[in-house]
Structure formats: structure tokens, C-alpha cells
Amino acid sequence: MHSKVLLFALTLPALLSAQNRIVGNAAEAEAGRGLFRIVCAPCHGIQAKGGRGPDLTTGVFNSGNRDEDLFRVISQGVSGTEMPGYGVRFGTDNIWRFVAYLRSATNRRAVASVGNATAGEKLFWSKGACGQCHRVGQRGGPMGPDLTRAGRKRSYEYLRAALTDPNAELTTGYYKITVVTRDGKTISGVQKGFDNFSAQLMTVDGVIHSFLRENVQSCEREYVSLMPSYKSWSETELNDIVAFLVTLRGDL
């Protein structure tokens, strides 16, 4: 709301001159990096390579690739997502400093996909059994992260690394919970809730379980993915799967 007021209050030439002065200037990009580390790093990572928020170093942005698109998104946020607007808090020049930093951080080219997406799609639903846990559009299982927009949310490198080392960087909240009941039964699944008095988890059959700590022997959480590693697969197969994943842009 406030950011719109701010934008309308500025004339287009004033905006453009700030843009020309700041974007592409190394010192301004450095100032932007300082701001980025405080404000954006909690979601986008200290290197802007993503985490809870998208990777910002691929040169491809969900809401447009022009400087003006970045300015708009940082100022106003993206409705329906966790991305807030920073226009009021930081002002025009600082928003351009963020843009300057992002431009300096996205100089590296996104790695070109070398696999075959059609072959990857087949592997995804058959040999890989990825759909047992992951959902794409209206198809797939509920246990793992929804991959419908994986190609927008995650970088090529992130997806490639996740296949062979699922524990490298977990999607927030998708941790492994293991409960041992009073009668010695062990139940493992993906975290739905984990707190000081209880835990909720989903087992591979899609059932949600709930436990009170006072009623079980133990209740532990590990920074471990329930996804198996695919490192025994051939380079070609892995590249094909990733080629398929990067095509997933949310078109149902």
C-alpha cells in the first residue's frame, strides 16, 4: 500500500536517473550486498543462491528479468508469497542498490541443461518412482516437496545436487522424525510438526500420525531427508531427470 504511494510520488525521470546512477556501479552493488545480507539472506541465502526463497543467481527471475521488474518486486513484494515489499522501509535508492547487487551476483550464466527432458519425465514416473512422494501438477504423492514449480524455485545445480545428495540442503520443514513408542515400535516419517510437547509426522503411506512426548519413549528429529540417493544412476539418467525438473514452471 505504502510502496504504491511512494512510486506514484516519484516521477519517471527521477526513477530512471537513480537506476542509471546505481545499477552497474560496483560501489553501489557492494552497498546493496550489505543490505541484502541483512534483509534478504534469511530466505535467499547469504550468497543469494536460494533457500526458503528462490535462487537469485541464475539470471532468471520468477516475476520478470528486467531491472524494472526486480525494482517492482523488491519494492512491492509478491502477493501470495512470503516476499514482502521493502519500498517504504528502504526508499528508491536502496531498492536500486539491491538490484545492482543482484545484477553483480547473477553474472554467472545459468548452467545449460544437457539432459533430455522427455526421457527424464519417463524416469521420474517409472524407474525413479519420484512420484511416490513428489507431486507435479495433479499427479504424485504427498510426502515430499511439491515439484510443480521446481524449475522456478530451484537452480539447476540445486536440483542436480539434491538427486545424489538429498541431505545437502533440505527444504525447510522436510526433516525426518523418528518416534519410539512405549511398546518399542519405531515409526519414521517426514515432519509435519515438532515441538516441545508433541510431534506430527507423515509416513510413506500418506498417513499423518501425532504423538505426545509424555506418552512415548523417544521422539527425535534429524536433519536428514527421507529421499533415497540416486547416485548409483548414470550421468545420462541424472541429467535427464534434472532436464525434466527445470521445465516445471507451474503450468498445470
Binding site: A31, G34, R37, G45, I46, V88, R89, N196, Y223
Partner: protein, 517 residues
């Protein structure tokens, strides 16, 4: 007749002799104990606690207030310049105060408020745009409102004031915005400022040599005072903790110890003159504010009773100081500390090299936000233990050069944790030795403050929305209830008509519990 007296005996056995009990100031008493003599709710019956009423503020944002209770009314402040008077019996609203915030208020950590102070029928609270307002407790009407300082410079006000004699004492926030902070006293009747103590001295003033000689570093020096202090009437001294120097994580622009940041200052209540100061973290670069509760209690030191002020500091050490002189009595880590090997005889940390923020990052423990943060602490004279929350872990601290712009964020970088679950605990410390008596481990950083009662209980809440009671002697959890919103403030307790009540805020609502009638 005989039947009736038997009944009275039985009733008082069941419920004890519960006198009406108020809660009149932020820390329960001006020593900041947050301890209540009420013992109707105790270890053996706490499992029966039941809901009495809920009040929904309908305001999103963090409830950091400590409610006050007087007469038949509870007084609470909320985020975004709001406040409410509530009926003690039903929780129904008696009046509401609200004031629009001017656009462009820059607050580091939410548009929060930590509560009222009260004298007679007058309530005092700060508003976020750095004003202090006096309200008629009967109606919520404004008696006077004074400007503390200019919010456009980056100042915000969130603290609960205290009243000392004829003055309202307040602190200020804004050390993340390159401000120079202070502690102020205002006349209760007129709202006129009586004195100001700058927590960052100017050139030529005592402590001024701990800042660069030339330049404007001290003008951006921080030292915020956003958590309520305490008062010793015998010594007539006010004790107040001070925050980080500015910018938080780039110490290169402010060589020196940077007094009086990350310190406790003891001020004459009448004049605001500094009696002594104790700096916990000289030249801080990890954002280790010393704005935690400075709690006043007497501790045994070699068989002698010493008037002490204690603090569980964000830097990972628990400290007890002689509150007449400011000399260190004891200092000991209560969580993992990597940045200092220990304290020297004067309490100055013995630094471990390689722990400061750099452009590429350095790991240090505690992590950002420290071990114990601002959440209210409690001291129980019954157990002689001091209770507080702690975030237990480490972070990688980064430094960046950052240009100063008036009123803008000026932190010069940040900290991150990667691939680890941050953990926490509630800690009970022997205040004389700093030894940890017990530690109740939590699966994530703690969020709530502490309340200790003569019922042998410690009440608190967590980020998941649980309100819970621990055994004050052992830390064993005895009871909990899910309230559906984060508990940030400390629970408080009061009594009316023979019954003890416990009130806590969770999410945007206030919940009151008691034993069933």
C-alpha cells in the same frame, strides 16, 4: 454455625488463604523479580488449571506486554499504538486506546510495546513514534503526550516505563538505525523532560575517549535502552541495560571500547547522573545488547550478604555485580561461549581471536541474538534460583561496509546458521555462583518470559503456542496447554475473591487460567 465454620476451615484448606494480589509494575516489583507469593496454584494441582476467559485484541503482531492489574481492571498494551482496559472477571473490554502511527516509522523488530507503568489513577506508555503518553486509567483518555525524540532519525519507543517517585523513566530503541541513544526521566504531572542520560558520551565527556576522536561515529553509536530497568530506593539508583554499538557488526568504523554500549549503567534517580557503569562486551561486534533484565537481589558472598544486580547477558555469560559499586562479584557462561576464554578479575572478557565478523564470515557462539535475549526473567526467593531462557548455538557472522543514511537500517551485515536446528533451553541459575542448577531443553529457540510463584512453579510459553508450567526446583514440565499463537511476553499472576489467576498472551489474544471453582 458449627457446620459453617467447618466449611470455612475446609474451604481455606482447599484454597489456602488467598488475599487479593495486584500486579502494578513491569517486573512485579521495582527489583524486577517477577515472583509472586501466591501459592494456590502449585506443583500438586497445576494439572487442573482451566481457562477462565480469553480476550482477542484483533491486532496482528507480537504481544510483548506485561499486563498490570489494579482494582477490578487489567491494563494491557498491544502492538501498533494500542492499549486496552479489561474486566478482570470476564475479560470484556472496558476501554480501548489507539493512535495512528505516522508513515515511515522504521522499527527493527516489530511495532511492539512492552506495557504500562502506573501511578495512582494514571497510566504511562510509550508510542512507537517515540512519544510518551499519560492516560486516565478510568477512561483511557490522554492526559498529556510528550515527544521523546524524532522517529525520522530512526528512534522508536517500545519499552515499558517505570515510575520512580515523581518521574516516569523510559528507554529508547533504534541502535540498528545509527542513532545515539539515551535514558530519559519525565515529570509524571506535566510530561516535561527532567533529565536525559546519553548512553553514548560525546567528545570531552566521561567515556568519550572510547570513541574515535574525529568524525561522527559517536552520533551513530547506538546503545539503545529498549528493556525496562530496575530501581533500588535505598541507594536511589536506577539500573538500566544498554544495547549494541552502531553499526552492529562493523567495528572498524568505531575503534575503542564504545562506552556505554553493552553495559549496565547505574544512575541517580533524581538527576540522571551516572554513579557507575559496567561494560560486559567492550567494542561489541556481535550485536550482544546488554538490554536483558537487570535484576536486584541480595546474594551470599563468603557468608556476607551483598546487594547485587544480576544479568543473564546476551554474550553467553551470567553476571552478578555489586550494585552499590558496579564491581564484578561473579561471571560464568550459562551456554556455549566461543568468543571469550573467560573473564578477568574486573569482568573484562578474555577474547579468543578469529571470532569477529569478516566479509567471508566467522563462526562464533552464542549465535545472533545471543544466549538469553530480552524476554523477562524471574527470581524466586523460595528456591533462590534465577530463571531465564537461552538460545543455545552458534552462527556465522558477516561484516559488510555500509554507508550511513539517516533513519535507515545501519547494521553493516548479518549472521547465518546453516543446516542446523537452532536449540534453546530454560535455565535455572544459582545467582551467587552462576552455576546452572537445572536446564530444560527445548527443540527450538525460546520465545517467552518467566514467572516464578510461591507455588513452586515457573510459568512460561514457547514459539509453538504452548503455555506451560515447570517445577521450579527441578525444571520438570508439569502442565501445558496449546494456545494457538506464540507466547512472547512473560505470564503474570494475580488474585481476587480467594482465587489465584494466571494471565498470558499468545498470538493476538490474552488468556486467563485458574483452578476450577
Amino acid at each position: 454455625m458449627r457446620m459453617l465454620s467447618l466449611f470455612v476451615v475446609f474451604a481455606s484448606m482447599a484454597f489456602g488463604q488467598v488475599k487479593d494480589a495486584d500486579w502494578l509494575t513491569y517486573g512485579k516489583n521495582l527489583s524486577g523479580w517477577r515472583y509472586s507469593e501466591l501459592d494456590q496454584i502449585k506443583t500438586t494441582n497445576v494439572k487442573s488449571l482451566a481457562l477462565e476467559w480469553v480476550f482477542q485484541t484483533n491486532i496482528l503482531g507480537k504481544q510483548e506486554t506485561t499486563p498490570l492489574v489494579k482494582g477490578n481492571v487489567m491494563y494491557v498494551t498491544g502492538p501498533e499504538n494500542s492499549a486496552f482496559a479489561l474486566d478482570l472477571t470476564t475479560g470484556r473490554q472496558i476501554w480501548k486506546y489507539s493512535k495512528n502511527m505516522p508513515p515511515g516509522v522504521n522499527a527493527c523488530c516489530g511495532l511492539v510495546n512492552r506495557g504500562f507503568a502506573m501511578q495512582g489513577d494514571v497510566l504511562f506508555k510509550v508510542n512507537i513514534e517515540s512519544t510518551l503518553v499519560a492516560l486516565d486509567s478510568k477512561t483511557g483518555s490522554v492526559i498529556w503526550e510528550s515527544t521523546i525524540d524524532d522517529y525520522k532519525k530512526g528512534y522508536t519507543a517500545t519499552v515499558a516505563p517505570i515510575v520512580v517517585k515523581d518521574k516516569v523513566i523510559i528507554g529508547i530503541a533504534g541502535a540498528e538505525f545509527g542513532t545515539r541513544c539515551f535514558i530519559d526521566a519525565y515529570d509524571v504531572k506535566t510530561g516535561k523532560r527532567v533529565w536525559r542520560f546519553w548512553t553514548v558520551p560525546g567528545p570531552g565527556e566521561f567515556g568519550g575517549e572510547s570513541w574515535p576522536k574525529d568524525g561522527k561515529a559517536y552520533e551513530r553509536g547506538g546503545g539503545s535502552t529498549w528493556v525496562t530497568g530496575t530501581y533500588d530506593p535505598e541507594l536511589n539508583l536506577i539500573y538500566w541495560g544498554t544495547g549494541n554499538p552502531g553499526p552492529d557488526m562493523n567495528g572498524d568504523v568505531r575503534p575503542g571500547d564504545n562506552l556505554f554500549t553493552c553495559s549496565i549503567v547505574a544512575l541517580d534517580a533524581d538527576t540522571g547522573q551516572r554513579k557507575w557503569h559496567f561494560q560486559f562486551t567492550p567494542h561489541d561486534v556481535h550485536d550482544w545488547d546488554a538490554t536483558e533484565d537487570p535484576v536486584l537481589l541480595d546474594i551470599d558472598q563468603n557468608g556476607k550478604k551483598v546487594k547485587a544486580v544480576v544479568m543473564a547477558n546476551r554474550n553467553g555469560f551470567y553476571y552478578a555485580l555489586d550494585r552499590a559499586t558496579g564491581k564484578l562479584l561473579t561471571g560464568k557462561p550459562y551456554t556455549e561461549v566461543s568468543w571469550a576464554k573467560g573473564l578477568d578479575a574486573n569482568g573484562r572478557p578474555i577474547l579468543v581471536p578469529g571470532q569477529d565478523p569478516t566479509p567471508t564470515g566467522n563462526k562464533a557462539c552464542p549465535g545472533g541474538g545471543g544466549g538469553h535475549n530480552w524476554q523477562p526473567t524471574a527470581y524466586s526467593p523460595q528456591t533462590n534460583l534465577y530463571y531465564f531462557s537461552s538460545t543455545d548455538g552458534c552462527h556465522t557472522y558477516y561484516m559488510t561496509n555500509q554507508e550511513y543514511l539517516e533513519g535507515q537500517w545501519y547494521q553493516a551485515s548479518t549472521f547465518t546458521g546453516e543446516g542446523l536446528f537452532p536449540k534453546g533451553s530454560i535455565v535455572a541459575v544459582n545467582p551467587a555462583t552462576g552455576d546452572v542448577q537445572w536446564r530444560w531443553k527445548m527443540v527450538s529457540p525460546p520465545s517467552g518470559g518467566m514467572l516464578a510463584t510461591a507455588g513452586g512453579l515457573v510459568f512460561s510459553g514457547d514459539s509453538f503456542g504452548y503455555f506451560f508450567a515447570l517445577d521450579a526446583k527441578t525444571g520438570k514440565p508439569l502442565w501445558n496447554k496449546q494456545l494457538g499463537g506464540t507466547v512472547i511476553n512473560a505470564p503474570m499472576t494475580w488474585a481476587r475473591a480467594g482465587r489465584q489467576f494466571v494471565t498470558v498472551a499468545a498470538g493476538g489474544a490474552f488468556f486467563t487460567f485458574a483452578l476450577p471453582k
